[in-house]
C-alpha cells in the first residue's frame, strides 16, 4: 500500500512564530488519518498547506504524487478541502451550491445534474435540494460542505475539525458518513482536538504539538507502545497484606513506583511490554499474592495525548 499524502520536513514560519516545525507525515491510501493536537499545534496550517492555500516556508508536501507547491492546480483536482470555519453563501439553494462548486471544477452539465442528486443522497440531504443553504441546521450545513468537497470525486479529503460545533447526533451521522466515504475508497485526513471521536474513527493518527509529530501510527500501536510506560492497576483479595504485596511489586526492577490507592488497589508505574507484565503477574502469584485483577489503567487517546504532549514539554526543557 502506497502513501498518498506525504510531507517531508514541512515548515511554516509566520512572523514571530513557527507554526509547523519540520513535520513528517505518511498517510497510506484508504486510511482515515487523524491529526491530533491541542489548539495552535499546527494542524490547520498543515492542512492548509496540503490544500494549496498556504505556501510552506520549506519542506515538501505531496498528494497522490503531486507536489502541492509546484502543481497546485493539479493537486486541487485530487483533493477536497473542508476548512475548520466555513460559511455558506446567502440566497443560494442547496443544489445551486453544489452546482457552483461543480462548475468550478469544470464538470460538464450533464454529469453535474446526476452527481448532485447522488451526493445529496449520500449526505442525506436529498429532500433539501431546493432549500436555502442559510436555512439549514449546522449539522446539515456541515454535511453539505462535506458534499461540496466530493463534487470532483477526489482521492483525498482534507477535513479540518469537521465535527466542531456539532451535537452528538450530528457527530454520529458525520462519523457514519466518513466511514461510508472510506468504503468508497477515499483517503481522509481529519484534524481534531476532540480525541474520543478520532479514536473510534481513525485507522491511524499523528499526535502533533508545537508543529511537530510526537507520535505517529495506528492508535493501537501508539497505545501499545506507550501503555507500559504507563500504569498498571492490581487488585488483590481483601484481607491480604496490601503493604506486603506492594513491597513485592516494588522490588521488581521494572516497577518504577508502587502505591496503594484509597480503594485498596495497587498502582504500579511500570516500564515494560506485555511479556514483562505477564512475568510480573506470574511472580506475584508465585509469591502467594492472591491477585483478583491485573490490568492496565484505562488509557484512551486523551490520556495518551496528555502523556505524549507532556513528554514533549520535558524534552524541550532538557534541550
Amino acid at each position: 500500500m502506497s502513501d498518498i499524502v506525504v510531507t517531508r520536513g514541512l515548515m511554516k514560519r509566520y512572523p514571530g512564530t513557527l507554526a509547523v516545525a519540520g513535520l513528517d507525515l505518511n498517510v497510506a491510501e484508504g486510511e482515515i488519518f487523524g491529526l491530533v493536537g491541542p489548539n495552535g499545534a499546527g494542524k490547520t496550517t498543515t492542512l492548509r498547506i496540503l490544500a494549496t492555500l498556504l505556501r510552506a516556508t520549506s519542506g515538501d508536501a505531496e498528494i497522490a504524487g503531486i507536489d502541492v507547491r509546484r502543481d497546485p492546480d493539479d493537486a486541487r483536482r485530487v483533493l477536497g478541502f473542508m476548512p475548520d470555519v466555513f460559511g455558506v453563501y446567502d440566497d443560494m439553494k442547496v443544489w445551486e451550491y453544489l452546482d457552483f462548486f461543480a462548475r468550478c471544477y469544470g464538470i460538464p452539465a450533464a454529469r453535474r445534474r446526476r452527481m448532485i442528486g447522488d451526493l445529496l443522497d449520500l449526505v442525506d440531504l436529498g429532500d433539501k435540494r431546493d432549500a436555502y443553504v442559510q436555512g439549514l441546521s449546522r449539522g446539515m450545513q456541515q454535511r453539505l460542505c462535506l458534499a461540496h468537497t466530493l463534487v470532483h470525486d477526489p482521492q483525498v479529503l482534507l477535513l479540518d475539525e469537521p465535527a466542531s460545533g456539532l451535537d452528538p447526533r450530528a457527530r454520529v451521522e458525520l462519523r457514519e458518513l466518513l466511514r461510508e466515504l472510506r468504503a468508497l475508497g477515499k483517503t481522509i485526513v481529519i484534524s481534531s482536538h476532540i480525541l474520543p471521536e478520532l479514536e473510534e474513527l481513525c485507522t491511524a493518527v499523528a499526535i502533533v504539538d508545537h508543529g511537530q509529530v510526537l507520535a505517529h501510527g495506528r492508535v493501537s500501536d501508539i497505545e501499545r507502545r506507550l501503555r507500559f510506560g504507563a500504569v498498571l492497576r492490581v487488585r488483590i483479595l481483601t484481607g491480604q497484606d496490601h503493604e506486603e504485596a506492594r513491597a513485592h511489586f516494588a522490588a521488581d526492577p521494572r516497577v518504577a513506583s508502587a502505591t496503594i490507592l484509597d480503594d485498596g488497589q495497587i498502582e504500579l508505574g511500570f516500564r515494560g511490554d506485555d511479556e514483562a507484565a505477564a512475568q510480573l503477574l506470574a511472580s506475584a502469584i508465585g509469591a502467594g499474592i492472591r491477585v483478583t485483577s491485573f490490568a492496565r489503567a484505562a488509557s484512551d487517546l486523551e490520556e495518551l495525548f496528555l502523556q505524549v504532549t507532556s513528554g514533549q514539554a520535558r524534552t524541550e526543557q532538557v534541550a
Binding site: R48, A51, P83, G87
Partner: protein, 429 residues
C-alpha cells in the same frame, strides 16, 4: 523531536476497504479502479489556449451566475429598477418644467424662436438625466463590488473557493461582471427615458452615445476600484468605507483640488483664461487636466457641455459652483445664439470651435478675439476642445481598471500573493 516517537507502522489490515493497486510510474491520479462508478477527472489540459479560454470562460460564468442568482433573486431587483425609473422620470419631468419656464421667458425677451428654446430645454433635460445616472453609477458600481471579495473572506467561503482549481482571474472577473451586470441593467433601462430629449431637440444621438460611453467606462473603473479595495481589505465594513472615501476623493476632492490650484495661480474666474499676473504663491499655470481624469462627473460635464456647444445652463453652473476655477464654455449670462460661422478665438492654448464652428487656429496667451456671433470662442470644459477631455478620461479609466483588476487577482490568489515583492522562501538549515 522527543525520543518516544515511534516509527509509523503501515497498517496491516483495513477491514472495510479492499486494497487498491496503484501504478507507481504515473504521478498523480493513478487509481486503476475506483469503487464508485465515476471516471477519474481528466488532468488539467496544458498549453492548449483554446481549451484554456473555454475553461476560463466557464469558470467566470460559474462565479457570475452564482453572484447574479443571489442578486436578482426575488422581487428586490425589479422593485429597485422600478423605483429607479420612476425617480429618473420624475426628475426629468421636473427639470423640463424648470427649463421650459426659464428658456421660454428668455426666448421671448430676446425674440428668439420657440424651436431654439425647445432645443435648450432638451439640452437641460439631457444634462439632468445624464448627471443623475452618473451619480447612480458613481455610488452603485463601487457599492456592489466593495464587498465582493471581503465578504467571501468574512463568510469564510474564499478558502473553499481557493481550494478548487478555479483561477483567481475567474473569481475576480466573474465578480466584476455580475456586479456590473446589474448596474448595466439600470443604465440600459434608462436609455428609453433619456431618448425623451430627442423630442425637444438640441441633443444629437452622438451626444447620447458619448454620455453612455462615459457611464459604462466609469462603471467598470469604479467597479474595479471597489473590487480592488475589497480584495485588499479583510473586512467589508472597512472596504466599503475606504471605497466611498476614494469615490469622494475622485469626485469632490479632485474638483476642490483644481479649484484651489486655479485660484492660487490666478485663473480668471470669469473667462476661465489664465491672466498670468494675478497668481499668488508658488503655484503657476492652470491645474493639470489629469487631476480630473478620474472624475466621472468631469467627463460627463464635457459631454453635456459639448452637446450645447459649451454654452448650456449646465456649463455655467459648474463654473458658478467652482467660482470660475473650472470653466465650462462661456460664462456670459443670457441666451447665446450659436453661430454657424467659424468663431475666432484665442485662449491659453486650449482649443476652440465646436459643433457649429470650424476648427480655428489658436495662439497661446493672446487677447481674446470676439467672433462673429458676438461672444468669445467656445472653450470646452476645462478650456479644451470638444471630444478631447472625455476620451482621455476614459482611456485613463481603462488603464486604471486593468491595473486594479490585475492587482485584485494577485490579492485573491492564496499562494501567489505579490510574488514580485516576496523574498524567496528560505530553506531551513
Amino acid at each position: 523531536m522527543s525520543d518516544n516517537v515511534p516509527m509509523r507502522d503501515a497498517p496491516a489490515e483495513l477491514p472495510e476497504v479492499e486494497e487498491r493497486s496503484v501504478d507507481p510510474t504515473l504521478p498523480g491520479a493513478v487509481r486503476t479502479h475506483v469503487v464508485n462508478e465515476k471516471p477519474l477527472q481528466p488532468r488539467r489540459p496544458r498549453r492548449n489556449p483554446i481549451r484554456a479560454i473555454r475553461s476560463g470562460t466557464s469558470q467566470i460564468v460559474a462565479v457570475a451566475l452564482k453572484e447574479l442568482r443571489g442578486r436578482v433573486r426575488g422581487r428586490r431587483a425589479f422593485v429597485v429598477l422600478t423605483f429607479y425609473l420612476l425617480f429618473l422620470g420624475g426628475f426629468a419631468w421636473a427639470w423640463q418644467l424648470v427649463a421650459e419656464r426659464a428658456y421660454v421667458q428668455n426666448a421671448a425677451l430676446q425674440g428668439g424662436s420657440a424651436a431654439f428654446a425647445s432645443s435648450l430645454v432638451g439640452q437641460e433635460v439631457f444634462g439632468a438625466l445624464v448627471l443623475v445616472e452618473t451619480l447612480l453609477v458613481v455610488f452603485l458600481a463601487p457599492a456592489f463590488t466593495s464587498g465582493a471579495i471581503s465578504l467571501e473572506r468574512e463568510k469564510q467561503t474564499l478558502d473553499m473557493l481557493a481550494a478548487t482549481p478555479i483561477s483567481s482571474l475567474a473569481i475576480v472577473i466573474g465578480k466584476l461582471v455580475s456586479a456590473l451586470a446589474y448596474v448595466f441593467l439600470l443604465i440600459a433601462a434608462s436609455i428609453p427615458l433619456t431618448a425623451i430629449v430627442f423630442v425637444f431637440g438640441g441633443v444629437g444621438p452622438d451626444d447620447v452615445v458619448r454620455a453612455y460611453a462615459v457611464l459604462v467606462v466609469s462603471a467598470i473603473g469604479l467597479g474595479s476600484l471597489g473590487l480592488f479595495i475589497s480584495a485588499l481589505m479583510q473586512r467589508t465594513q472597512g472596504a466599503t468605507v475606504v471605497t466611498f472615501f476614494m469615490v469622494l476623493f475622485l469626485t469632490l476632492g479632485t474638483m476642490f483640488g483644481v479649484l484651489f490650484w486655479n485660484t492660487m495661480s490666478g485663473v480668471n474666474s470669469n473667462s476661465g483664461f489664465l491672466t498670468g499676473s494675478s497668481g499668488v504663491g508658488p503655484i503657476k499655470g492652470r491645474a493639470p487636466e489629469a487631476f480630473l481624469w478620474f472624475n466621472p462627473f468631469a467627463a460627463q460635464y464635457d459631454v453635456i457641455c459639448g452637446a450645447s456647444d459649451g454654452y448650456g445652463g449646465w456649463c455655467s453652473r459648474l463654473n458658478t459652483v467652482t467660482n470660475g476655477a473650472i470653466t465650462v464654455g462661456s460664462t456670459r449670462s443670457g441666451l447665446i445664439v450659436p453661430t454657424i460661422e467659424p468663431a475666432v478665438g484665442v485662449d491659453d492654448g486650449s482649443g476652440v470651435g465646436g459643433k457649429f464652428g470650424g476648427p480655428v487656429r489658436v495662439l497661446p496667451d493672446q487677447p481674446v478675439t470676439v467672433g462673429r456671433g458676438g461672444f468669445a470662442a467656445d472653450p470646452q470644459p476645462f478650456g479644451l476642445r470638444r471630444d478631447t477631455f472625455w476620451p482621455r478620461s476614459l482611456q485613463a479609466w481603462g488603464v486604471l481598471s486593468l491595473v486594479l483588476i490585475l492587482a485584485s487577482i494577485q490579492l485573491v490568489s492564496p499562494t501567489r500573493r505579490w510574488r514580485l515583492l516576496r523574498r524567496p522562501a528560505r530553506r531551513f538549515a
